[in-house]
Amino acid sequence: SQTIHQWPATLVQPVGSPLSLECTVEGTSNPNLYWYRQAAGRGLQLLFYSVGIGQISSEVPQNLSASRPQDRQFILSSKKLLLSDSGFYLCAWKGSGQGFYEQYFGPGTRLTVT
């Protein structure tokens, strides 16, 4: 069966420091991968998605970037964190076949920028 992992689970970083959050999926190949930020009262904001290695689509211009160096690995990065980057970050995957639209989520990373 498919599983999705994220780490770290929690992270406290100072303003101006770099960021790297990692997401990996097991048990499936060529998944679509997604990064979301979950904020109270604002729902899930899609940040990036990827339909294949090296293919990244950005939904919201911001201080963050994403990369997909391997088929089942998705990384969220920042060179210099801002206070406003604090939040709960979720990774999700979706099957690449037609007719499969639901997404499956990882456990999330709680990021606090101080």
Binding site: N32, Q38, G41, R42, G43, L44, L46, Y49, V51, L90, K94, Q98, Y101, E102, Q103, Y104, F105, G106, P107, G108
Partner: protein, 108 residues
């Protein structure tokens, strides 16, 4: 533009009472809608999809294209139903658009 609206941020009901979570959408194409749920300390998970016409944990949701709604209902709420609920709309082959979420509290 595609949009999902969940008008209630918070919903509090007593155990055994009916619960209805509202979801309205705007979409020019043929909609596909989902409900996701996040229980305390658990990951966000799919609750049900409208195309399956299924009942999961006593919840049902009917797509009403005339009213552009996909409300989630359960006739008798249980304490374990306390959670955050998100309505989601497929916007293309790759993406889902989520509502702001409704936090449900079921009181004994």
């Amino acid at each position: 533009a595609q949009r999902v609206t969940q008008p209630e941020k918070l919903l509090s009901v007593f155990k055994g009472a009916p619960v209805e979570l509202k979801c309205n959408y705007s979409y020019s194409g043929s909609p596909e809608l989902f409900w996701y749920v996040q229980y305390s300390r658990q990951r966000l998970q799919l609750l049900l999809r409208h195309i399956s016409r299924e009942s999961i944990k006593g919840f049902t949701a009917d797509l009403n294209k005339g009213e552009t709604s996909f409300h989630l209902k359960k006739p008798f709420a249980q304490e374990e139903d306390s959670a955050m609920y998100y309505c989601a709309l497929r916007t293309n082959d790759y993406k889902l658009s989520f509502g702001a979420g409704t936090t449900v509290t079921v009181r004994a």
